[in-house]
C-alpha cells in the first residue's frame, strides 16, 4: 500500500499549495477584485481538492467540498452574487476545507456535522437564486446530485461492481441490437469495431453488417456513413443497462435499439425501423458453465463461425460478412484476454517501459519545466557542497608561497576549483530558495482578522514578494512575522478616532517588504501608527528590573527593550499580541536562523522593524582573524573596514574605556582578547581593528591580533553541539581541521549596553 501512501503524500502537498493559492485569491477578492479569472482559480482549487479526496475516500471532505464547489459554480456563472457575505462565508469555508485536509492527513476524525452549518448556508444561497427564478422555491435540481466517492484500492483487483449481475435474472438473455452510427460518432473518434468488441465481452455475439446502403463507387462520399450493424447477443444475466453502457459514449450519435427476445413487450425498446428481426442464434448452454477465461476463446471462435454462416444465408437484409471480420475476431482476442486477466503485475516486463518515473514522460512531453525533488535529497547535496567548500579552502590554505611558485599548474587548478565550488554552491542554494510570497500571502488574512478584532481600519501593503530566501528560513519566518504584524496592528496602529484626531487618515497602513541586500535578506515591517510609547516601555522595563532605576537609556535602546526577554506590554493592552509570549520570542526565533531584528520608532509617526536574515543557512562568507592563539571568524557582511591599530584614531573616554573616532562618529571598542579572556602577546601596534556594523547602522570596533584572510565557512550550531555562549553566534570547522568560533557582532554590542546599563 506504499504506493497509495505516496499518492496521499502528493495529494496533501498539492492541497497545501491549493490552500495557499486560495488565501491569495481571496485576499484579492476581498480587495474587490472579483473577476472571472479569480473565481475560476478558486473553483479549480476546490475542485482539485475534492477530486483527490474522492479517490482516497475522505468522504467528509468530499461532501463539504462538493457543496462549496456548487456554491462557487453558482457564483461563477452569476446565479449567486459574490457579495461580501458570500466572500466571508467562502473564507470560512476555506478554513473548514483546510481542517478537513489536516484531519485527513493526521488520520483524526472530525465531528460528522463539521461544517454542516456552512454547508446549509451554501444550500440556502444556491436555493435563494432558485426562489427568484421560479416561485415555488424548489431546490435547483442540479444541487441534489449526490457525489458518491469511490475508494480506490490500488494494487488489489477491484470488485467489478459495474458488471455484477443484478439481483433479478433475465429469463433467456437473448438480445437483438440494431446499431446505426451517425457521422458525428466518427467525428468524435468513436469506432463501431470497438463497441462491437465490447459487446462481445458481455456474452456470445453474432454480428451482421448491413451494407445494402453502400453506394456504387462513383457516389461514394469519403465521410459518408453507409454501414449499420445488427447484433445478436446471448448473455444471460446481463441487463439492458449494461448493454446501454457500451453505447454510453455514442448516445445521440447513433440510432440504437436494444430488444430482448422473448421478454415482455413492455420491456422491449421500440425499434425505430421495425422490420422483421432475424432469428437469434441458438443459445449454447455449454458456454455458461465454462470458466471466464475460456469464454473468451470460444466466443471468438463461435463468432468467426457465425460470420462464416452469415454469408451464404443471404436473407432479406442482404447480409454479408464484414470484409474485415477476421480482423474483428483478432481484435476481440486481446480484449477478451485483457478482461480475463486485467491486472498485470507492476514488475511484469510488459509494464517496464511505461513504469518509468512520471518526469520522464513530462520531459518527453516537452511542456513541463520543473521536477519535484524530495527536500532531503537537496539537503544532502547542500551538505556535501558545504564539505566540498571546506575541502577546497583547506587545499587553498595548504599552498604557501614556495609551493605556489613551484606548482603553477596546481595553483591554477585550485583557482578553477574555487570558482567552480562557488558556482556549485550558489546553484545549490538557488534550488532551496523560494519566494517569500508563501509567507507574505498569509498576512492579508491576519491583518483582516486583527482589524475586525481591534475595530481598527488597517491596510496591508506588501512589496518584494518575489524575493527568494532559503526554504528553511522561510519556514521559520512565519511565526515571527505573524507576531510582529500582530504587534503593529495591536500597538502600532491607532483607532480610527485617534488617527483622525492626530490628523492622519482613518485607515492605518502596515507595509511589509522584502529585499535582498548583499548576503542578507531584509524584511521590513513598517506601520504609520503611534510609534513605541517609550515612557511606558521604560517604566515597564524598570518595573521588571530590566533597566536599573538610575540608568537613562537612549531612545534607540528603549525601542530595543521590546525584544528583551520577559518584557511584554501585550497582556497589559489586549489579548491579541499577548498570548503569554512577547517579542523576545521573535528575537530568539530569528536568531535561531542566524538573523537579527532591529526596531526603530518615530513617536506619532510609526514604527519600523527590520529583520536581517541570511540568504542561506549553510554557508557564510567570513573574515578569518586571530585572537591570541585561536582563530575566530567575523561575518563578512558586517565588516565595514579594517584599520591597523597603530593608525587608528582611538580616544579615551572618562570612564576609562576607549572609543574609535571614525569620520566624526565615536564607536565603542571591544578588545576580543580581553572580552574572551585570552591573554595575548601580540604587539599592540601591530594589532588590527575590525570595524563592524551592527543592526540599525550602529557600529562597533573589534580589536584582534591579526587578520588571516577571507573565506567561506559552513556554520555549525554551538547550541546543538555545546551550549549558547554570549558573544558567539556559532562555530565552524576550518580547512585545517581547527574549530573557529563565529563572532556575534550584534550580541557583543548589546553586552556593552548591558554593562552601561548595569
Amino acid at each position: 500500500m506504499s504506493e497509495l501512501d505516496d499518492f496521499k503524500a502528493t495529494y496533501f502537498d498539492e492541497c497545501t499549495e491549493l490552500l495557499t493559492e486560495l488565501e491569495e485569491q481571496f485576499a484579492a477578492i476581498e480587495a474587490g477584485e472579483r473577476d472571472a479569472d479569480r473565481l475560476n482559480a478558486v473553483f479549480r482549487a476546490i475542485h482539485s481538492i475534492k477530486g483527490g479526496a474522492g479517490a482516497f475516500g475522505f468522504t467528509g471532505l468530499v461532501g463539504f467540498a462538493h457543496a462549496y464547489e456548487t456554491l462557487l459554480d453558482h457564483v461563477r456563472d452569476g446565479r449567486v452574487e459574490m457579495s461580501d457575505d458570500v466572500v466571508a462565508l467562502s473564507i470560512r469555508a476555506n478554513d473548514i476545507v483546510a481542517d478537513h485536509v489536516n484531519a485527513a492527513r493526521s488520520g483524526e476524525a472530525l465531528p460528522a456535522d463539521y461544517g454542516a452549518h456552512e454547508k446549509s448556508r451554501f444550500d440556502a444561497l444556491c436555493r435563494g437564486e432558485a426562489v427568484d427564478a421560479d416561485a415555488d422555491g424548489e431546490p435547483v435540481e442540479e444541487f441534489d446530485i449526490e457525489f458518491t466517492p469511490v475508494r480506490v484500492d490500488i494494487g488489489a483487483v477491484p470488485a467489478d461492481d459495474a458488471f455484477e449481475a443484478p439481483p433479478f435474472s433475465a429469463p433467456a438473455g437473448h438480445w437483438e441490437i440494431r446499431f446505426a452510427p451517425h457521422q458525428a460518432l466518427y467525428a468524435r473518434a468513436n469506432d463501431p469495431l470497438l463497441l462491437l468488441r465490447e459487446l462481445a465481452a458481455l456474452g456470445e455475439v453474432s454480428v451482421r453488417a448491413v451494407v445494402r446502403d453502400i453506394p456504387v463507387l462513383a457516389d461514394f462520399e469519403p465521410f459518408g456513413v453507409y454501414c449499420t450493424w445488427e447484433i445478436s447477443l446471448v448473455a444471460p444475466g446481463i441487463t439492458q443497462g449494461q448493454i446501454r453502457e457500451v453505447f454510453e459514449f455514442v448516445e445521440g450519435d447513433c440510432d440504437i435499439s436494444i430488444v430482448e427476445l422473448g421478454a415482455d413487450a413492455s420491456a422491449a425498446q421500440p425499434a425505430p425501423a421495425a422490420e422483421a428481426l432475424p432469428e437469434p442464434l441458438p443459445a449454447e448452454p455449454d458456454f455458461l458453465s465454462l470458466a471466464e477465461d475460456e469464454i473468451g476463446a470460444i466466443g471468438v471462435s463461435a463468432l468467426a463461425g457465425s460470420a462464416g454462416e452469415a454469408g451464404p444465408e443471404g436473407d432479406a437484409f442482404a447480409d454479408s460478412p464484414v470484409p474485415s471480420f477476421a480482423e474483428l475476431a483478432e481484435a476481440i482476442k486481446p480484449a477478451v484476454a485483457a478482461e480475463a486477466a486485467p491486472a498485470p503485475q507492476p514488475m511484469a516486463p510488459a509494464a517496464a517501459p511505461a513504469s518509468a518515473p512520471p518526469d520522464d514522460g513530462e520531459r518527453r512531453g516537452g511542456g513541463v519545466q520543473s521536477i519535484r525533488v524530495d527536500l532531503d535529497k537537496v539537503d544532502r547535496v547542500v551538505n556535501m557542497v558545504g564539505e566540498l567548500v571546506i575541502t577546497q579552502s583547506m587545499l587553498t590554505q595548504q599552498m604557501d608561497e614556495t609551493l605556489r611558485a613551484r606548482y603553477t599548474e596546481l595553483v591554477r587548478g585550485l583557482e578553477v576549483l574555487a570558482q567552480t565550488t562557488r558556482g556549485l554552491q550558489d546553484s545549490v542554494m538557488a534550488i532551496r530558495a523560494q519566494p517569500v510570497k508563501s509567507v507574505f500571502s498569509r498576512m492579508p488574512r491576519l491583518v483582516r482578522e486583527l482589524a475586525v478584532k481591534t475595530g481598527k481600519k488597517i491596510r496591508l501593503e506588501t512589496i518584494g514578494e518575489n524575493t527568494e530566501i532559503d526554504k528553511t528560513v522561510i519556514e521559520q519566518l512565519s511565526d515571527p512575522l505573524t507576531h510582529m504584524i500582530r504587534n503593529s496592528a495591536d500597538h502600532g496602529i491607532e483607532t480610527p478616532e485617534r488617527r483622525l484626531a492626530a490628523g492622519k487618515s482613518e485607515t492605518g497602513t502596515i507595509r511589509l517588504s522584502a529585499e535582498q541586500a548583499g548576503g542578507n535578506i531584509l524584511i521590513v515591517i513598517e506601520d504609520d501608527g503611534a510609534g513605541i510609547n517609550r515612557e511606558k516601555v521604560l517604566q515597564l522595563a524598570r518595573n521588571k528590573a530590566l533597566v536599573a532605576a538610575d540608568v537613562q537609556p537612549t531612545d534607540e535602546q528603549i525601542d530595543q527593550l521590546i525584544f528583551a526577554p520577559g518584557f511584554s506590554t501585550a497582556e497589559a493592552v489586549s489579548d491579541i499580541s499577548g498570548r503569554g509570549v512577547g517579542m523576545d520570542v521573535v528575537l530568539s526565533n530569528i536568531k535561531k536562523i542566524g538573523g537579527s531584528v532591529h526596531v526603530r520608532s518615530w513617536p506619532g509617526r510609526g514604527t519600523r522593524m527590520t529583520l536581517r536574515l541570511p540568504l542561506t543557512l549553510a554557508v557564510l562568507d567570513v573574515m578569518l582573524v586571530r585572537v591570541s592563539e585561536s582563530p575566530y571568524v567575523v561575518p563578512l557582511s558586517s565588516i565595514v573596514e579594517t584599520i591597523q591599530c597603530s593608525r587608528a584614531p582611538f580616544e579615551r573616554v572618562p570612564s576609562g574605556g576607549k572609543v574609535l573616532q571614525v569620520r566624526g562618529e565615536y564607536v565603542p571598542v571591544i578588545d576580543l582578547a580581553q572580552r574572551f579572556g585570552m591573554p595575548t602577546q601580540a604587539d599592540p601596534e601591530s594589532r588590527m581593528v575590525v570595524l563592524c556594523e551592527a543592526e540599525g547602522g550602529s557600529k562597533v570596533a573589534l580589536i584582534v591580533d591579526d587578520i588571516i584572510g577571507q573565506q567561506q565557512v559552513v556554520i555549525k550550531s554551538l547550541e546543538e553541539n555545546f551550549e549558547q555562549v554570549e558573544g558567539i553566534a556559532g562555530g565552524t570547522i576550518l580547512g585545517d581541521g581547527n574549530v573557529a568560533l563565529i563572532v556575534d557582532v550584534q550580541g557583543l554590542k548589546s553586552t556593552i549596553h548591558h554593562k552601561n546599563a548595569a
Binding site: 499518492f7 474522492g54 468524435r188 459514449f249 486485467p342 509494464a351
Partner: protein, 122 residues
Amino acid sequence: MTGLRVLTVDDSRTILAMLHHTLSNAGFEVLQAEDGKQGLEVLESQDVDVVITDINMPVMDGIEFIRNVRASGQHQSLPILILTTETSQDKRDQGKAAGGTGWIVKPFDPEKLISVIHRVVH
C-alpha cells in the same frame, strides 16, 4: 493492447500520479501535461493513441483543448476521454460537442478506467 501511448492532461498532480500508476500497470506508456496548452504541445511532437483530459484546468481548459485538437486536422480519429467529477450532463455534453469521444467519472475505478479505454482505442 499494451504498448499504447496515453496522454494524460490534468492540473492535479494527484490525479496525474494515479492515472500514471493505473495506466502503466496496465501496460500503457503514459505522457503527462498539466493543462490544455501543454497537452497540445505534447500532441505536436508525439504520437499518442488516446488522450485523457480533465475539464477544469488553468491556462487552457479541457473543452478548449479538445476543440483545438479536433481543429488541428491531424487528430480527427484520436480518441479523447474527458475526466470529470461532474455527474451532471452538461459538462459531458460540452465535452462531446467539442469532439470528446467519451468520459471517465472521477474518482475512477482502475479497472473501469482500463475498460473504458478499451472501448475507444484499438
